[in-house]
Symmetry: C2
Subunit: 121 residues, 2 copies
DNA sequence: AGTATGTTTCGTTATATGTCGAATTAACGG
DNA sequence: CCGTTAATTCGACATATAACGAAACATACT
């Protein structure tokens, strides 16, 4: 039950759901998610840690960057079912389709360049 | 997206999830759910209205009683998928199995008698 | 009409959550 | 080492949520 509630709580915020769906096709580093959502790095970091505690995403640190990706096969069955449900229900919504477009632009920018731009704001 | 978040928010509270699962096999009136959850009638009423707004449950008034039941076929696909997921993940948990037992006892009591007992507390 | 009963709404309170900016930590580059 | 940079943690604030009891509402019984 605890595990289930941690999943539904994680999925009960629009920004977190958008972040989760953004990881559909590839991993992303925090600054890329910051760019997509338009939130502060600290807020995004908090969101990602909530998704991670729910085991919906996994993380990997490489050099200075933290990469997040969707949960893989070692995650609980409840997590896989949740992800499948989210993808099924939301992939075709306006908001998520817009995010796909935005992401395409974000991915064109070199991550180092992206972080540098953000730190100047 | 709005619809989806209303579903996940509804499912992000343990009492609401327990109430939802209690409706698995039959409709229940508010006083029966009150008895199961051990919360005040006003709190249970609020919970049920949140489940109803998310379209996870439907309501029917008969005489003095308000009966709630699981959403039926006319509900959105996202709702059905959510209910299927919840049932699949939680039916076998300790808490829910205990609720099934408690419910069996509650159902033995005539609803009128149950309400009378509650109003004396 | 008047009273009892089942549920909901309202007002209040305590706790939880989302957000930011500042401070801190971790990793790299000179 | 020391400064730079990416991310996280901390502290603060505003808003949202879960809970209750009191009041209001709706229905039935006499």
């Amino acid at each position: 039950m605890r595990e289930f509630i941690s999943i539904t709580k994680a999925l009960s915020d629009e920004s977190r759901v958008r972040a989760l769906l953004a990881l559909r096709d590839r991993e992303l580093c925090v600054c890329q998610i910051v760019e997509l959502l338009g939130l502060s790095p600290s807020t995004v970091s908090k969101h990602m840690s909530i998704l991670k505690h729910a085991r919906l995403v996994e993380a990997r640190k490489e050099r200075r960057w933290m990469y997040y990706r969707l949960a893989e096969d070692d995650a609980p069955a409840a997590v896989h079912a949740a992800i499948a449900w989210v993808l099924d229900v939301l992939s075709t919504t306006r908001r998520i389709k817009q995010d796909v477009k935005t992401l395409k632009e974000v991915l064109k920018i070199d991550p180092e360049e992206l972080c540098r731009v953000q730190s100047r704001r």
